[in-house]
């Protein structure tokens, strides 16, 4: 197992380096000067521009820039953004908000997806199953920004059940509606995954054995069907955490959540290279680590999977 962890960890290194290099290259090395863009319509002051270039290492060759950037990541010294604030402070403000949002979305999709998926799977072919299947298709088909607007308009504005926009504190109550919108797409996947997996397990030999030896229906469902069906679902949920955090840009925009997506979008549109690269780096790290954890979780959940052989 230790070997497996080590090997998987080593595989993450090129992914991490490659992804950061790609983003760094895209942001800093293609035509167009971010420093000149900072001056906007005003004439460029060469002395100030040169000083800024030196501050952000933009006067160095590309490889040196990138290596200096890597060094700054590993020393946790991310430097200042173009408005003069510590990037680390900015990250410290926005990441907890998005993490809260993503975890709430994850809880929402896990609880509802598994419950509905289990019921649908147990009653395969019945009315409930058919309804839920069609509904999940529709949810997958409707783009998230459309869903976001509709829910904001009907639940937030017309019915007033939840707050349509989020305050700067972004408390749990504020985030209920955005988290639902963010989790809806994955909710449909979790539902379908659970359903398929439940149907598969219902005809498994051990379920027949469990029923034959006289266990109650509830116990068979809980211990033998549900537990075994959850293995792929848990894998999906783990991998989803990373994509929820990175994919929250649209949801955060609609509900005005002061999180990573909003900040990233602002940084991208105003050409704040250092902030963009830092945020994307952290997102890539989260993606890599959550994938690693999922792989390990997989081995722990399903003893049939042995990595050392």
């Amino acid at each position: 197992m230790a070997w497996y962890i080590l090997r998987r960890f080593l595989q993450l290194v090129p992914v991490f380096l490659g992804a950061t290099l790609l983003v760094y290259f895209l942001v800093f090395s293609l035509p167009g000067d971010p420093i000149v863009a900072l001056f906007g319509d005003k004439p460029v002051n060469e002395a100030v521009a040169a000083q800024l270039r030196a501050q952000y290492n933009l006067d160095q060759p590309f490889w040196i820039q990138y290596l200096l950037y890597l060094k700054s990541i590993f020393t946790f010294d991310l430097g200042l953004d173009f408005t003069g604030r510590e990037i680390a402070t900015v990250l410290g403000e926005v990441f907890p908000v998005t993490a809260r949002l993503a975890v709430m979305a994850l809880i929402f999709e896990a609880v509802f997806g598994i419950v509905f998926g289990l019921i649908a799977g147990l009653r395969k072919g019945k009315l409930f199953d058919a309804t839920v299947l069609v509904a999940s298709l529709i949810v997958i088909g409707i783009p998230i920004f459309v869903l976001g607007f509709l829910l904001q308009f009907f639940i937030g504005v017309q019915l007033g059940w939840a707050k349509p926009t989020v305050s700067s504190a972004a408390t749990v109550q504020d985030l209920i509606l955005p988290a639902m919108v963010l989790g809806l797409g994955s909710f449909a996947y979790v539902l379908r995954l659970t359903r398929t997996s439940v149907i598969e397990n219902m005809s498994a030999d051990y379920v027949r054995t469990a029923t034959a030896k006289g266990l109650s229906r509830g116990r068979v469902v809980r211990v033998h069907i549900l537990r075994n069906s959850l293995i792929p679902v848990v894998t999906f949920l783990g991998a989803d955490l990373g994509s929820l955090m990175g994919g929250a840009i649209v949801t955060e925009g609609i509900f005005n959540v002061p999180g990573v997506g909003n900040r990233l979008y602002r940084a991208v549109t105003s050409g704040e290279g250092p902030t963009v690269v830092s945020i994307v780096t952290v997102l890539v790290l989260i993606y890599c680590v959550s994938n690693l954890l999922v792989d390990l979780l997989y081995a722990w959940l399903d003893p049939r999977i042995r990595y050392d052989s």
């Binding site: 595989q11 992914v15 992804a19 895209l26 167009g32 920004f145 509709l150 991208v268 993606y287």
Partner: protein, 328 residues
């Protein structure tokens, strides 16, 4: 007690027809059996799938919807003669309610909503279609090489794949769209290019899996032992037999790419506002959502139905092409 007696117990005489489980002698005349061709081959995977699909309401519905969308795309003039471009819109009609000849009302700019929904179809579907084609070609080549050659080719390509997987589609596209190169010439084709760059890994992974499954099949070994070159056996034998999952995923991703286009346009960094697209229309209707939600809702409905029909088609194809899944 015979079944007939059973059925008349309640007083109403229900005569059950006698069921024939075996055809009568005279039903299949002997000469008919002779007519069955001796070289008759059993249906192929695709023939079997087509027979299965024809009977699926989900497939028929989605195929019909996609047909309509394609017709709208090619000949928008058939559906609406009103000029929906901003120059032709009358501000006097701003936020106007539906009237004769304008069934869905007007936008804030006084444009006819119905005409804009019709004419906006083309750019959305073009982006989705050409991105899918590009992704299938590029991702397919990468995945086929990785799966077929294995070894270090696979290892290197898998890492590259992982790098692009770590950057979500929308995130990567947002960063790329802001590059000066793309900022200055933003159109359908630059958007297609960017979506291909960040969209290929999924198809690549699927192709790799499908190719690995097929490459050790007996017919591939047979072809190789007859002296067919590695590349030729990949093109002639392995790829055609691993197409099914690729087509399923490609159909579903066509829907996702249409969503990606409209999401980017909605964020203001996709197609320029001068291009008519559902994403742009939803974005511009967003400001007046509370006073006049209809210009937002109709393009959103059109978008959702289009995306939904591609996803449903993919779903139906998966059921038809995967006999294992069908039995469940």
């Amino acid at each position: 007690m015979t079944p007939e007696n059973n059925a008349t117990v309640r007083g109403t005489a229900v005569r059950r027809p006698i069921e024939h489980f075996v055809a009568d002698f005279d039903e299949t005349p002997l000469h008919a059996t002779d007519k069955v061709k001796e070289d008759h081959v059993p249906l192929s995977l695709w023939g079997e799938a087509w027979r299965n699909l024809r009977r699926q309401p989900l497939f028929l519905l989605s195929a019909f919807l996609i047909f309509v969308v394609i017709v709208v795309c090619l000949f928008p003039g058939l559906f609406s003669q009103i000029d929906p471009t901003s120059e032709a819109c009358q501000l006097a009609n701003s936020d106007g309610v539906p009237a004769g000849g304008h069934p869905l009302g007007y936008t804030q700019q006084g444009c006819d909503v119905f005409a804009r929904v019709i004419y906006g179809t083309r750019s959305s579907v073009t982006v989705g279609l050409f991105t899918t084609i590009g992704v299938v070609i590029f991702g397919g080549i990468m995945g086929a090489l990785a799966g077929y050659y294995g070894g270090w080719v696979d290892a290197v390509l898998a890492r590259i794949n992982d790098i692009f997987f770590a950057l979500p589609l929308i995130l990567g596209a947002i960063v790329m769209m802001q590059l000066p190169v793309f900022r200055t010439n933003r159109n359908v084709w630059s958007l297609v290019l960017i979506l291909i760059i960040f969209g290929w890994p999924q198809i690549s992974r699927i192709t790799r899996g499908a190719v690995i499954e097929v490459r050790n099949a007996d017919f591939v070994t047979a072809a190789r032992s007859l002296g067919v070159s590695r590349f030729r056996s990949l093109m002639r034998h392995v790829l055609p037999n691993s197409l099914a999952p690729i087509i399923v995923v490609a159909t579903i991703s066509l829907g996702t790419f249409i969503v990606a286009e409209s999401t980017l346009s909605f964020l203001g960094i996709g197609l320029p506002p001068s291009v008519m697209s559902w994403g742009n229309d939803i974005q511009s209707a967003q400001a007046s959502l509370r006073s006049n939600p209809m210009p937002l809702i109709y393009p959103a409905i059109a978008l959702s139905i289009t995306v939904l029909s591609f996803i449903m088609l993919g779903d139906a194809l998966r059921d038809a092409l995967d006999p294992k899944a069908r039995k469940r």
